[in-house]
Amino acid sequence: MSNPFVLQAFGVKKSYHKDKIEVPVLRGVDVNITEGVVTALVGRSGSGKSTLMHLLATLDQPDEGEIYFRGHRIDNASRAERDSFRNNDIGIIFQFYHLLPELSALENVLAPIMIHKSAWSYFKTRKETRQRAEAMLDRVGLLHRATHKPSEMSGGEMQRCAIARSLMTDPSLLLADEPTGNLDTETGRDILKLLRELNGDDGLTIAMITHDDAIAEQADLCYRMDDGVVKSAKPSMQVA
């Protein structure tokens, strides 16, 4: 019996407009992200994989098509529902980490909870929340850097911190946009190893965008994208 789908996209189309010229990016994409599985979306630059991730994360809305999270349509949900979906149900990590430079590693990890809770309810559960954030930092091996600002950390450490932040709200799905794209090979390998551990140990569903076939090979399922459409969907061993 197959796992239920966490996230599904049906016939998703998206175009951008440049000086009245329509530039189609996605031309009808169907994707299923299965629970507990590491899914890779692989493709060359300009294939539309990042746009698809933005649509899956509800950071943008498709021109056509539908996106479902656990059977509920989310692409046309209200702004507040989409904000809540990003805050509670998914975690996102980016190629360029996107940590808030004014905050320490611990505060960055706490950010999703601080966004979720009012000042009063945050203060009421401050101790437990901090303990959880420290546990998340510990989980990614960064507890010793808790008080450090992003400018005082290496690329790998920043990405670990971003992973800890994405796990803070205990999401159903982790969307990773080129998580190793800005890292050296060794560090990138460590990050992938960490993601694999999170999937293996905690059963975390991961959807990962990459242009690197070697990385895509480590996923359980791989969608290959080209020119705005999914060309193939295969178990990753068959990616090449």
């Binding site: 950071l59 943008d60 702004r79 904000d83 990003r86 509670n88 996107h98 004014e102 000042a119």
Partner: protein, 515 residues
């Protein structure tokens, strides 16, 4: 929660924004200083204007005054007795003050007020402004032996009061003896004394005196006796001027103990000038040049005697003015209107006014000045608001990727907007708080600061010869502080609305991709 955390972090790390609120700080501090000084001036002026003027004044235009004041007082009590805290009657008459100073005549136009010190004190602050401490509680119009504030007149050879009078009398006596001796030696000469230059004798016009209806000055020994007492406004008999060291000194043309002449019309229809000598028993200093340079006070019964305001058949005395002091919270205008109804102007030649009516233009001018200053200074803060607006736009551009990150983490547009609004509020709070602190410290030490500015620039900041204050008066109203603070913070928040809206409307994907 995150908005507060980010606001405080931005506040600590974005010094450009702090720099932009220096103008808020300066604006708030200036507003507080200006309002405090204006309030201080206004209150001092208010006190001094109101100090001598009672709440409501009924003046009679008839030269003979209004007869039977007791009946008038009873009628007034009938009309508004429940509103009245005190009543006093007086005789006000325009007069010419003549001071003989080193053989020269100094003539001043003054308003001579005959009053009963005890009842007059109940309707005004008359006693408070007298220089002799005992007269402040019991002004009896008798020359006192000592106790006058001699620090006011360090140049005086003798202490004010009887010592000064005796000294002056002794000098006059010696001069008289010397003059007699010289006259005896030059008896054969027929030179006119009128061309002999200044003399210490009576130099008022003989024609004027011939036409006067007053009693001839009594013959008395000036070393032992005094004429009827008079209290002069300090500016009628003194002048403030700077010495060669640029220090303001008071120069007195007459002092308590000296005699002066007052010439005023009598109360008859065929008015004649009364020429009466008085002995200065004290000086009056309210700080209002208008009062200090135009008032002289003597005993009511004496002035009534001199002016012939006593009915020879009935012995009823007339007065020219009734002063009313009203109870706390009484409606001045209502009392005035009720009295005007009782004494309609087509039947009575009375002028019934409140003290505010009398000083209305001056009070209105001060109010207008304060309002215009406040508007101008708030424009400074409004300009500071544009500084905040520009700085915030820069910060929003600088923070575009962070805004995208926050939205990707689930922050709503409203939440992002509130970061910048709260940041604006915090900047306004910090700016106006610093301004408040600076303004209060400035006000606290304003006189010392004025001294420094005088030392540095050599320019008098607060000329006591002009203002009659020794120090710059200040009053800090908590309400003023509140509205200045709230106004400044409101301007800061309003200035941050547009950048905050821009941040809120930012598309998360475009923000994340911003470089």
């Amino acid at each position: 929660m995150y908005r507060w955390l980010l606001c405080f972090r931005y506040l600590r790390t974005r010094y450009i924004a702090l720099a932009s609120i220096i103008s808020v700080t300066l604006g708030v501090a200036t507003l507080i200083v200006v309002n405090s000084v204006m309030a201080g001036f206004s209150a001092e002026m208010h006190d001094r204007l109101h100090g001598l003027a009672s709440d409501v004044m009924i003046e009679c235009h008839n030269s003979g005054g209004m007869p039977d004041p007791e009946r008038h007082l009873a009628e007034i009590k009938e009309v508004c007795g429940d509103q009245i805290a005190g009543m006093s009657v007086s005789v006000n008459v325009p007069s010419m003050l003549g001071i003989e100073y080193r053989g020269q005549n100094i003539a001043r136009h003054v308003q001579l007020i005959g009053l009963d010190a005890a009842s007059y004190d109940k309707v005004s602050d008359f006693g408070k402004y007298l220089l002799h401490p005992k007269n402040q509680t019991d002004a009896n119009f008798q020359l006192r032996s000592g106790g006058y504030p001699m620090e006011r007149d360090p140049m005086s050879p003798t202490p004010w009061g009887w010592a000064h009078r005796r000294h002056t009398a002794a000098v006059a006596k010696m001069l008289e003896a010397e003059r007699d001796r010289i006259s005896a030696l030059t008896a054969s000469e027929t030179a006119s004394t009128s061309s002999a230059g200044p003399s210490m004798g009576n130099t008022f016009s003989p024609e004027l005196l011939a036409d006067s209806d007053g009693k001839a000055p009594e013959a008395l020994d000036p070393a032992k006796d005094q004429f009827p007492g008079i209290i002069l406004g300090i500016a009628t008999c003194s002048a403030k001027m700077r010495d060669d060291q640029n220090i303001v000194r008071e120069h007195y043309y007459c002092r308590p103990g000296d005699d002066v002449r007052m010439m005023f019309p009598n109360a008859s229809d065929n008015a004649k000038v009364i020429n009466q000598k008085f002995t200065v028993v004290d000086l009056y200093e309210s700080g209002m040049s208008e009062y200090d340079s135009s008032f002289a006070f003597c005993r009511l019964d004496k002035l009534q005697d001199f002016r012939g305001m006593i009915d020879p058949s009935s012995g009823v005395r007339s007065i020219t003015t009734i002063q009313l002091k009203l109870i706390e919270g009484a409606d001045l205008n209502a009392v005035r209107d009720a009295l005007r109804l009782r004494y309609p102007s087509d039947l009575y030649a009375y002028n019934i006014q409140t003290w505010r009516d009398m000083q209305g233009p001056l009070l209105a001018a001060v109010r207008l000045e304060t309002m215009i200053l406040n508007i101008l200074l708030f424009l400074i803060i409004a300009v500071a608001g544009f500084g905040i607006l520009a700085t915030f736009f820069m910060i929003v551009v600088e923070k575009t990727r962070d805004i995208g990150t926050l939205k990707a983490l689930g922050a709503s547009g409203k939440g992002v907007m509130s970061i910048f609004l709260t940041y604006g509020l915090l900047l306004g709070f910090v700016g106006s708080g610093a301004g408040l602190l600076g303004g209060l410290i400035f006000v606290q030490h304003i006189n010392r600061i004025a001294g420094w500015i005088e030392t540095i620039t050599g320019q008098e900041v607060f000329d006591p010869t002009v203002y009659y204050f020794n120090e710059i008066p200040t009053i800090i109203h908590p309400f003023t502080l509140c509205w200045v603070m709230v106004g400044a913070m409101t301007i800061a928040v309003i200035a941050s609305v547009l950048p905050a809206l821009r941040a809120a409307r930012m598309h998360p994907v475009q923000a994340l991709r911003f470089e």
